[in-house]
Symmetry: C2
Subunit: 133 residues, 2 copies
Amino acid sequence: MKSDLRKEMMTIREMCDAFEVTPRTLRFYEAKELLSPERVGTKRLYSKTDRARLALILRGKRFGFRLEDIRQTLDLYDRDDGNSAQRKRACELGVQRLAEMEAQRANLDLAIAELKAELTDAEAKGLVPRRAA
Amino acid sequence: MKSDLRKEMMTIREMCDAFEVTPRTLRFYEAKELLSPERVGTKRLYSKTDRARLALILRGKRFGFRLEDIRQTLDLYDRDDGNSAQRKRACELGVQRLAEMEAQRANLDLAIAELKAELTDAEAKGLVPRRAA
DNA sequence: AGAGCAGTTGACGTTAACGTCACTGTGACG
DNA sequence: CGTCACAGTGACGTTAACGTCAACTGCTCT
C-alpha cells in the first residue's frame, strides 16, 4: 500500500506540470497560506487535498477573485464542521463577486460600444481603411 | 482681450475640479509626456488644447488603454500633417483594443455563467439561503 | 514684515502576483 | 568522488498609476 500512498503524493514539479503553474507560484501560495503541503525532509509533497485546493484556487482566479479572498473562502470550507454559517459566508462572497462581475460587464459593453462608434466614425470620414465588416 | 486669453487658461486646481483628477495625476501625465502645459514662472497653465488632450486621455482610460498607448496615439494625432498614415496607426490600435475587449467580455461571460451555476447548485443542495430570484 | 496658502519638485510608498537571482543543500548516477 | 539536476530560502525587481510627504518658492493680504 505504500506505493499507493506514494502515488497520492506529488512533487512540486509534478504539480507544476499538472496545473501549469511555476514552482515559484506554489511556494508563493504557500507563503500566503493558501496551500500547506507536507514536508518530507525539506521537500514538499502535495496530497490529493492539496490538489483539490489548488484547483479551487485557480478557478477562483478565473472568476477574478483576489488570492486573499480565495484564502478566506478556503479557510471557511476547512472549518466547516456541519455548521453552514461558513458556507453561507462563502456564497455571500460569491454573490457579491457576481454583482461586481456583472457591473464590470456592463461597463465593458459601454466602452466597446463607444469604441466601435469611434472607429465607425473614422471610417465614415474616410480617414482610415474600412474594417473587415 | 487679455481677459479672454486668461479665460482660456486654467490653473492646475481648476483642471482638477473640472476633470475630477488630482494635481498629482496631472503632473504625472506631464512627466509621462501626455500633457505639456505652459509655464508662467513656475506654475502650470492649461490651454484649451491641453483640456482636449486630457479629455482624450481620460476617455482612453475608460476604454482600458494603458497610458503609454494613449501617449503614442496622441502623438500620432499631433504629428498628423495631412498624411493619414498616423491616423491609420491610431485606428489599428483601436481595432486591436476592441478585439481585446471583446475577448475579455467573452471570458467574463464564461466566468459569470460558471459562478452563477455554482451558486444555483449550492442553493439546490439547500446549503445556503436562496437568492432574490 | 509675517502669515498663509497654492503650487512645485523629488523621493519613497502602495498593491498584486509573481519573476529573477544568488546561494545552499541533497539525492542519484557514473 | 565529482557533478548534475532539481529543491529550497531569502531578497530584491517588476508593472501601472498614482498617493503621500517633506521641504521649498512665491504671491497675496493685512
